[in-house]
Symmetry: C2
Subunit: 224 residues, 2 copies
C-alpha cells in the first residue's frame, strides 16, 4: 500500500501567496527590489536557500544581519496574515479519508514548527500523526531530508512513499529521496513544469487527488 | 520591421500579484471562497470573463449586483495597492530603445483607461503613443479586439505585429489576431505553458527581451 508524505504550504493549505507577500514586504523594507514572480518561484525552499537564490537574482551579496532581518520580517508578516489562510478544498477530507482507508500519511514541511503548528490545527491533523518540520532536520527542501525523515517516522520505505507537493522543489527533494511524486497545482506552478520536474501525476488540489486515489495505487476495497 | 504591441500588467509593470490580492479581497468580502491560484490564472482577462470563469470554478451563479460589487471592490483595492507597484526591470529602457531604433510600439491592455493611466505614467509612455485600453473596445482579452485595434492605430498589419504578454490569454488573443507572440515570465506563468499557448519565444522580463531584440527580428543597424 502506498504511504503519503504531504508538503504543507500550497499543497494542503492555501498559503503560498501570503508567503510571497510576506517576503516581498521584507525585501522592500530592506531596500531590496526583486520582481514578485521571482519570489513566488522560490516558495517551498527553506529560508536559507531562498535568500541565497534571491541574492543571485539580485546580483549582489546580502550580509548576514540583513539575511536575519529578512527571515525575521518574513516570519512576522506571515504571522500577521495567518487569519486569511484557509485549508485548500478537500484537504481535511483527503486526510480523513486516508485515515479511514488505513493508508499511512504524514506532513513534511520546510516551515519551522512554530509557523506550521497553526496550519496543522487548521487541517485537523491528529496528534498521533508524526509530522516533520524544519526543526527536525539540518537541511530542509530542496534537500531530501524532510521527506526521508518523514518516511522513517512512518516506517515506510522508498518504494511505498509518495511525496505530494506543489513546487518543483518538492519534486526535486522527492527524486533525491527516490520517492514517486504527485504534483498539486494550488501553489501556482503549471502542470507541465511539475511533470517535467518528475511528477507522476498532477491534480488541481487535494479534492481532485481525493477523487482519483485509485490512480496513485490506493485500493478502495481495503477500506475498513 | 516588426512592431511591438505590449500587454501592461505582468508584462511591463509588476502588478499581477496586486491584482490577485485585490480580487481575493473582493471575493472574500462577498463570501465567495476560491483558491488563490485559480484567481492568479485568470488575471489578464477583462473583469467580465474573469467573473464568469470564477463562477464556473465556484460552481454557482453570481447575481449581477454581486458581479458589480466584485468589480468595484477589485478596482478600489487595486487602487489602494498602486503605491507598491513598480515597472518591471528594463521596461522603461526597452520602450526607450525601441523608440531610438524607430521601431513602432504601443500598449494594449484589458485594464480600464483610469486604472492604466498611472502605470503609463510610471513607464514614461510618451503622449504620442496611441495606447489601447478596455475603454476602446467592446470585448477585451482574450478576444483579439484590443490587439487588432492597437495594430490599426499603429498602422501595421498582422505580419509585422508582435504581441508581447505574460498570460495564456494574451497568447490566445494574439493567435486570433494572427500576430506572432512573445511570452514574458513576470506574470508567474511557466515558459512551457506560454510556449504551448503559442509563444514564439519566452523571456524572463522586459530587460531580457531588450537584450535579445535581434532574436525577434529587430535589426540594430537601422538604429538612427
Amino acid at each position: 500500500m502506498p504511504a503519503f508524505i504531504f508538503d504543507l504550504d500550497g499543497t494542503l493549505v492555501d498559503s503560498v501567496y501570503q508567503h510571497v507577500r510576506a517576503w516581498n514586504t521584507a525585501l522592500t523594507e530592506c531596500d531590496l527590489q526583486l520582481s514578485v514572480w521571482r519570489i513566488h518561484r522560490r516558495i517551498g525552499m527553506s529560508g536559507g536557500p531562498l535568500v541565497r537564490a534571491l541574492m543571485r537574482e539580485l546580483g549582489r551579496e546580502i550580509d548576514p544581519d540583513t539575511t536575519e532581518r529578512l527571515k525575521r520580517r518574513h516570519a512576522e508578516e506571515f504571522q500577521s496574515l495567518l487569519p486569511s489562510i484557509r485549508p485548500l478544498p478537500g484537504a481535511r477530507e483527503l486526510l480523513r479519508e486516508l485515515s479511514d482507508l488505513n493508508v499511512k500519511w504524514t506532513i513534511a514541511t520546510s516551515a519551522a514548527a512554530a509557523d506550521a503548528a497553526p496550519m496543522f490545527e487548521l487541517l485537523g491533523v491528529p496528534p498521533n500523526v508524526p509530522v516533520t518540520t524544519r526543526d527536525d532536520v539540518d537541511r530542509a527542501k530542496p534537500d531530501p531530508d524532510v521527506f526521508l525523515t518523514a518516511a522513517q517516522k512512518l516506517g515506510v520505505d522508498s518504494s511505498d512513499a509518495m511525496a505530494v507537493g506543489d513546487s518543483v522543489w518538492d519534486m526535486l527533494a522527492a527524486r533525491r529521496a527516490h520517492f514517486l511524486s504527485i504534483g498539486i497545482l494550488a501553489g501556482g506552478y503549471g502542470a507541465t513544469e511539475l511533470e517535467q520536474a518528475g511528477a507522476y501525476r498532477v491534480y488541481a488540489d487535494p479534492d481532485d487527488l481525493r477523487r482519483h486515489l485509485d490512480e496513485v495505487g490506493v485500493r478502495e476495497e481495503e477500506r475498513t
